[in-house]
Amino acid sequence: MNHADEMADGEISSVISRHIRASFDDNSLLAEVGLHSLSVLRIASELITDPDQEIDPTGLAAVHTVGELRQWLRGLLAPKENLR
């Protein structure tokens, strides 16, 4: 994991923590900790300021746990050229 990744992970964790009031770990189900699809999108827009950033609903539908959310956000934060 390079420095940029570490930075991103730190940011992701802090935003996730702001949105979840209960205790959780990576295996916690989003529904269990009170995160619904809209709050996930809110988390994404707090992390990413680029309004052009696309969200693929198929990918988002596969996100069920906090760990998967972290992974999905990491994908969104990755430099654009890697996505295309």
Partner: protein
Amino acid sequence: MTVASQAATATLPLTAAQKGLLVVHRTVPVPHLYNVLAELELDPAFAPADLATALTDVLAVQPALRLAIREGADPHAVLGDAPSDAPLHHITTTATEFDRRRTELLAELGGTAFDLTRSPLLRTALLRTADGTRSTLLLVVHHLVFDGFSLRQFVRDLTAAVKGVLDVETVRTARERALRRELDAQLQSAGDDETERVAKALADRLRATAATVLNPRPNRPVTTGFTGTRREIRLTSRQSAGLDRLCATLGVSPFVLFSAAYAAVLARHSSNTAVVFGSPVMARRTLGSFDLCGFFVNTLPLIVDVPWDAPFDVFVKETVQAEAGRARAAAAVSFDRIVRHVDPDRTTNRNPVFSCMLALQDAAEAEAGSVVRRVREHGNGTAKFDLWLGVTPGPEGWSLELESDRELLPEPLVDALAASLRTVLDRTVAQPGQTVADLFVDTSPEDSHAHDGFRRRLPQPDLYSAVRAAAKARPGQVAVEEDDCRLTYAELDRLATAGAVTLAARGVARGTVVGLTTTTLVDTTVTVLAVLACGAVFLPLDLGLPADRLMYMTGKADCRLVVGDVPVGGVDLLTPAELTAGPQGMASDEPAAAKASDGVYIMFTSGSTGRPKGVLMNSGPLMNLTEWQLDALDMDEHTRFLQYAPLGFDVSFQEILPTLIAGGTLVSREPADRRDLPAVVERVRAHRVTHVYLPVAALPAFVRAALDAGDELPHLSYVCVSGEQLLIDDRVRRFFADRPHLCLVNLYGPTETHAVTTHRLSIDNRPWPSHVPIGRPISDVAAHVVDTTGHLAPRGVPGELYLAGACPALGYVNDPARTTERFLPDPYADDARARMYRTGDQVMRDESGVLLFLGRDDDQVKIRGYRVELGELESAAASHPDVRLAVGVVHGEGHERRLALFFRPEDGRSPDPDGIRRHVAAALPSYMVPARVFPVDAVPTTRNGKVDRAALAAQAQRALTDDARSASAATTTTDDPLVAALQQMWANLLGLAEVPVDRSLLEYGAHSLTVMAAGARIEEEHGVQIPILDFFRDPTIQAQAAWITTLREDA
């Protein structure tokens, strides 16, 4: 304020979802169907002028609200200039008038269509009280530019504008860019291969799933006017918290939990195990789009299998969660793309893929300190779906709203749906581990016991003593009337008592079974009464049945004595003359009264295992039926009831005994043949008959015959019918409309219970439906409708009919196994000994509680009113040594309904289908003989391994159609042009390619109704009338040609 816009008149593409919506908008008859109506309750202290300014700012920063639509070859949107003043209408009213004005304004805004070519597609009205205590902003926007999520953004922008923190210029530029970017992303994703693959997969699953139809009544309207009504189901904060806890425990979202509850409710109310409903899925793809108003949703179907026996929590987690995930993952699939792949029936103006909808609404909660205090969405008196469930979270808990189509779902049925939904949600929280079926409860105990209110109590304890009482009251009155014989009550009583003495001398006692092959009404009536006087049981034996079958019946019923002119098998015979020749002085003792449990008659009906079943009917149900009938059919000493039914049909009981008990006159049908309806009508007229009881199949012919005869039938009061589903056409309607003194009574009841429900059609309840209900139970009869969940069904929900109370027979004679299978303890009764009969008939109660017959859930069918177990036909065919497997099917509708038999030969054998048909005909009554017999190499099966009768029925129907098609080219086997013309006519009538000229037409599917039709055509073409009986005497084409020739010569 004027905002200079760089975007003036810019062209924007429409998304697939928008185009699809545009198509629907153009095809529905309601131009305001897609008006989104909302209300923002405002802080009343807020100045109206400031609101107008804020609203103008919102229009500036929300490009979608400035769109106009251009239709045509290339539909697109045009982005308009930001207006200098928002379209805000100010209304001031008094505090007392406020709510009324609010309702009026909502109706006006919601009901007024937009001109899509003119932006903004939004109208607002600010309603305030003059005293400044209340203020509300009413808002209507066209759905093409606004989805549920848009409301949240609208409120946010409005709040920001009011607070003065909305940087209009900067935000406007950014939002217009965001809109373009979002549209690009949508168009790009809609066209990709993955979206196409997902759409195809969804369509495949949809095609394999039956449509979810609520209120699946016959003749349900195919098109509607889209008028709707909304109701709220408010959950308490405690209930809401319970649901939230359950979501957390199960690890599912509220959408998944509500989807599961909704799916279960839909499955119950549509009587399906797999349901389809739509749900809007957010299709926004760019992060910037979440600040935009706009129409960025696709409505996707959820296809949910509802396993009744699975624990609800497992169902939620395993089935529904997976399905919800599939729907979300398919967010890019537009509805029109699914429709293209499904290729559904488009003859309806309803949504072609799903008729029910679930929308988890976004909580557009007001921010603290905001000018907007509360946000609500409203219905606008329309319904896009048969049923729509909106679920919205709020500060006090979940709020549920049901919007329903007024035409398709009458109010009481929506009550029932709402009750089911509430029950499921309550019970889910209490016990999430119980089975899906057990989330429901019995819902219609009152309906089960509601009856039609008719009853005239008899003072006598049994049928026989009631007849005797009538005889004593009017000894000189004619009891039985034949053409050459009129029997008074005194004579009837004398003969019956003499007969009873003779029977007793022959060992007949309480419970002894006596067969009847009597041929005249007088003999039959006397014998029946003599048997009843002994407390014995009569067994009608129709001499037209195959000898083997008669032998089986007498053997099974332990019948050792037959009264009649013809012996049956080895059973002792007593002629009617011998019966009444006994010593007459010994009958002065009144016989002991029959108990309710004493048997009265045995009637055999078709049995699925290949042998007929003998129903042993007892006194209790028959006394109850008689008491109902005396009142319901206004029976008294003036009653003249035509005895039409064969004695082997339970209907004959209703003709004979209640008439005698009423002191009326029983009029013999003879010499008119039962199938010769013109002769029957003539007899009804000539003998001033007041009551007739016909099989449903004979009603059209009866009506036609009366019309042809120009007969008003002034003495007739009641026309009763039963036997199968009564369908009424315009001719029948007109016939009764022109004779308002006639009441048409539709009766329903299996042999195992006798007639138990009735529906009356009279001048008071027009218009008459074409599919006539079977009505309401008679007094003391309970009709339980048990639905797919195993509970008493609410109104509008199909289920199996169980008949209880004073109607189930004792059982099948000498057949305890089958008796136990169909006659069950009645769990809904207070009395532990109460029994109910499981009919196997699918029925439902309509919104007023009236029962509608829907069909059978097994292989029992009705052919021209006769009950036929396909199993019995199959057993008869399979007894042929060359037949390995036989499958009977019924195909065609109404009077065109026919039996067909498919058989798979034994290996290496290839028997002639006609030979198989003859083999069957030798063993079964003629109505059970299939019209066509087809050999097959293999019998098709359904996905779950059952014989696919539907496929075979379709095959039989195709064969008929093919035959009919090729008939035009068929050659005749005759040089006689008259014979050839008749042959052609019969081929058309029977739907066959060729009909032999020298064989019985009855063997080729002709029956009384086709014979009637043939008679009419012959009269039209040849100018002669062939008496219907002559047809039946020699039902061949050659014979008809000979008659026509003779009649012409005579003329």
